[in-house]
């Protein structure tokens, strides 16, 4: 196993341990609920960043797969014929298929045309959810709750167990995305982002690569939707509305798109801001807008990207200073 992979595994294990220990140190349920929210939205933003940051495909319709995961999982569980893992696998497979069909059309387009066709597909799915009332519950959402029968001794109806389950799934998904991020496939995607013509000349099947990452990103978003459905015990048409995709883009902008964990940091920041601002004012839109404006105009990139650049600049300055100091020492000696 490569050294980087071992390092990633170690960091993932530490992160998981921290996530699992936090509710023990701070047993208030509010913190647990908050973290589940960050996990679900963070996963959505991370999956979108596979398209935006890694491949240069700005999708405006990514929440369609979030909703697809939530609805298919919820409906399968409500049918009473599926266990939680089986329903999750079916929901993931179904969403992957949906992403494959939609992606096969979308990835043929570039730039703004790509963005708008993804938005069009999302609004199409949103309309289906609204109008197919018998199945989806329309704008009332899936009614009657989502059953969470115990499996392998894991009872997700217990809030603590649900949190631990979300944390484990989150870390596993991050590891999968990290492997993609660091793999030759990931570097090929970066090349497609930076110069698709050159990638094509080098023999890369650009369409197939784009389609591959589109399906993977959709499947990961679907996982985020499943976690959210488990948490709120329902699925709602708002999950498939364009504002949900917009929020994921906000998280990426806030956190940064070049640092792997940037979108999660963005999700954490946005949810924290949202949480506290909503407590104190009804004009949360104005406050959030001002904060985001300040970050975008002030830092001109996401927080994590800014921090990375700042650290790199500092390292360069130190190295330059060290280089300058060496000849001086030599001269003295």
């Amino acid at each position: 196993m490569r050294r980087e992979s071992l390092r990633d595994l170690f960091i993932a294990a530490v992160a998981l341990a921290v996530l699992l220990v936090l509710p023990v140190l701070f047993p208030q349920p509010a913190l647990r609920d908050f973290l589940v929210y960050v996990i679900a939205y963070g996963l959505l933003a991370m999956s979108l960043n596979l398209l935006v940051g890694l491949t240069g495909l700005v999708s405006f319709g990514h929440a369609a797969y979030f909703a697809s995961g939530a609805y298919s999982f919820g409906l399968l569980m409500q049918s009473g014929h599926f266990s939680v893992p089986m329903a999750m696998l079916c929901a993931l497979a179904g969403t992957a298929l949906l992403a494959l069909v939609i992606g096969a059309i979308c990835v043929r387009l570039k730039e703004i045309y790509f963005s708008f066709i993804t938005l069009a597909f999302q609004m199409f799915i949103h309309s289906i959810i609204l109008t197919w009332v018998d199945v989806t519950g329309g704008d009332q959402g899936l009614r009657g709750g989502i059953p969470r029968p115990a499996f392998l001794g894991i009872d997700l109806s217990q809030a603590g167990t649900l949190y631990a389950f979300c944390a484990v799934v989150f870390i596993v998904c991050l590891l999968i995305m990290r492997q993609v991020w660091q793999s030759p496939f990931g570097y090929t995607l970066r090349m497609i982002r930076d110069n698709p013509a050159r990638a094509n000349f080098l023999g890369v099947n650009v369409l197939r690569m784009k389609l591959g990452i589109f399906v993977l990103a959709g499947t990961m978003a679907s996982m985020a939707g499943i976690l959210m459905a488990l948490f709120v015990s329902g699925a709602y048409a708002e999950f498939a509305f364009w504002t949900m995709s917009g929020e994921a883009i906000f998280m990426i902008m806030l956190g940064g798109m070049q640092v792997f964990l940037g979108p999660v940091i963005g999700a954490f920041l946005l949810q924290t801001l949202n949480h506290y601002v909503t407590i104190y004012t009804e004009h949360h839109g104005l406050v959030l807008g001002l904060v985001i404006l300040a970050i975008v105009l002030g830092l001109r990139r996401g927080v994590a990207d800014y921090a990375r650049d700042w650290l790199a600049a500092r390292r360069t300055t130190r190295e330059a200073a060290a280089l300058e100091a060496k000849p001086a020492k030599k001269a003295v000696s």
Binding site: Q140, V232, S233
Partner: protein, 419 residues
Amino acid sequence: MSENRGAIGRRMLLGGAAAGTAMLAMPHVAGAQAKVIRVGMPTTLSGRIAILGTSSRTAIRYAFSRINEAGGIGGRTLEVVDRDTKGRPDEAAKITRDLINNDGCEILIDAESSAGSFAVHEVVRDIPVLCLHTNSETSSLTADPKMLVKHAFRCARQGVHDAVAGGVYASAISKERGLKRWMTCSPDYAFGRDNTAEFLIFAKKFDPGIEVVDQIWPRLFAPDYTENITKILQVKPQAMYSALWGGDLVSFVEQANLYRLFGNLTFFSSSLGDPPVASAIKQLPQGIHTAYRYNRNYPAKPANVAFADDFTKLAKHEPTNWAWQNYVACEFIAEALRRTNGRTDPTALSNEISGMELKTAFAVDEAITMRASDHTIIGYPVPWGITIPAAPYVKDFVPVDWAQILEMEQEWKKDKGFA
């Protein structure tokens, strides 16, 4: 030296992170036996339907101030903790959990619209606290036995009750005036379509001669109704039913006025009876038939007029339908707390509220009853009246017999498989 000052130390960073986590985890209030009983209120306080939340909140604050000024309940006072869900069901679920787990709320008044109410309902299924839904009119929230949650009740009018009342009232007029050609114009979403379908079921039941010649479905929050109004003028129906509400209804009526639509049409509206809606229309046409939402003169009781006066002073507008519903919810909670001597145990409170007959200014007769079988209220005002251009905007209320509503409701439940 300068390097040390410029760098953010790891310890400082870790310390900051720990402090942040502790802040997030810190509960805002103390435990269950605090002197103040905190009542959580998830609702929509921003966006196009903000008046739903703001008028509900004013009514609750007013009710609690009256209860507290009278000495509270068993020495404990009531306080409302409101939060904006932005009309998003997932946000409603999260905020409801926060209100219970973080803000120490022992009771919930769910003043969300329907989609949010279903989300809140699932939270209280998981975390048992007494919850009164005060703004959702979707019948299945309580009519569907699968939805029954022991500690959750609805203190709001219900779609099927209004549909029966509307059907009885409209069919009497259609028979009397020979109105055969009907048309509908309702917003294109689940509530608009369900409400219209239920109204037509009962109108046709009581007057089988009614024929629906066309139905139009403008999208929700549409700014321009010219196309719809032109269509109505082409079809030339004798009567029309509309489930448009709020700002959509205001826009529709004002634009229809330009085409003199109401001169040759008998118009039935489900929502024009809300005083803030009626008052927002510059030239409210005379003679539109509307369902009751709220009126200071109906039920004709001094306590109702006093409520309208006091509420108007606080909110700077007349009460909405949501206002009286939330006020009555507070009355139910206060009465249940009195009976449990201030204990907020959800089972004890639910046992008291279930089947409670509450004497209130808003009851058609003496009391509004929280029906034990499906946790919903009956005996609230469901009359229809006709509009007049100036306050109080609606007059000549015609009551509908609740015995007839309950009989029809039972049939409807059987048809739906709910009974």
